[in-house]
């Protein structure tokens, strides 16, 4: 068996396990539901393979889990930030747009970055282009570039990508 075939098989296997576990959670492990479960899991796996490219295997779940508490804490901090600004009678906001040149080239990584920016305090991602990202911030005095740069490095770690400042580089 060639390397690419085994790689593809492992991808299919992992998707199957993923959808099976989701079904188990949703059905509360009711095993009598398997006549529905089997076709649903197979169709979901097939659709997900059609939609997503073969690049999914780059993702490192362990690193993702390690960053998860940090993401959750920052999400809470951002909600608190919004609460403080909104409940203040003088409404202390200085909104504006910020352009951020992307170092990431991987599509999945860029989408994850955009979604994570939305969870950071004071920023939402507004437009994702090929090489730069437009970010809307509630406070233009925030060091938006530095914040996103730190996040970008973490995401590169999750996807096993190497980014050097300014240079675009890809490491398999």
């Amino acid at each position: 068996m060639s390397a690419t075939t085994s790689c593809k098989l492992s991808l299919i296997f992992r998707r199957l396990v993923f959808f099976c576990s989701i079904w188990l959670v949703l059905s509360k492990a009711d095993l009598s539901s398997w006549p529905f479960a089997l076709p649903t899991v197979l169709i979901s796996t097939w659709i997900s393979l059609c939609l997503g490219g073969p690049e999914g295997h780059l993702l490192k779940p362990v690193v993702l889990l390690r960053y998860l508490p940090l993401f959750v804490l920052q999400s809470i901090a951002s909600a608190f930030d919004v609460m403080v600004r909104v409940l203040n009678p003088s409404l202390p906001i200085h909104p504006g747009l910020v352009h951020y040149p992307l170092s990431l080239t991987h599509d999945g990584a860029k989408v994850l970055l955009a979604n994570c920016i939305t969870m950071l305090p004071g920023t939402i991602s507004a437009q994702l282009n090929d090489d730069h990202l437009i970010v809307h911030t509630l406070d233009t005095s925030l060091p938006v570039h530095a914040i996103i740069n730190r996040l970008e490095r973490k995401i590169a770690n999750i996807f096993r990508l190497e980014i050097t400042s300014g240079q675009k580089e890809f490491q398999p």
Partner: protein, 93 residues
Amino acid sequence: MTSFYVGVALVLLLTIIIGLLRVLWGPTAADRMMAAQLFSTCGVAILLLLARGFGQLIIEDVALVFALLGALAIVAFVRRAWKTDGPKPDKGA
């Protein structure tokens, strides 16, 4: 305990009703649609609370469907109802 869950659910329902003022004020269609998104997030929270409060775990599945439909509504709105005439560059995602 049932009255506790129902009480919190009612408070959340109140925040939705206040939020509906945005539907009246607009000014753009997207502002009105954002009130619908508020409805979807708050609605999921209310359904989860009611599921526990009344001991009907099936309502959790309703919350799940609610979450999916909320996302679908926004996508349909942006892609169809609020379409722009300008060029649409491929975003690579």
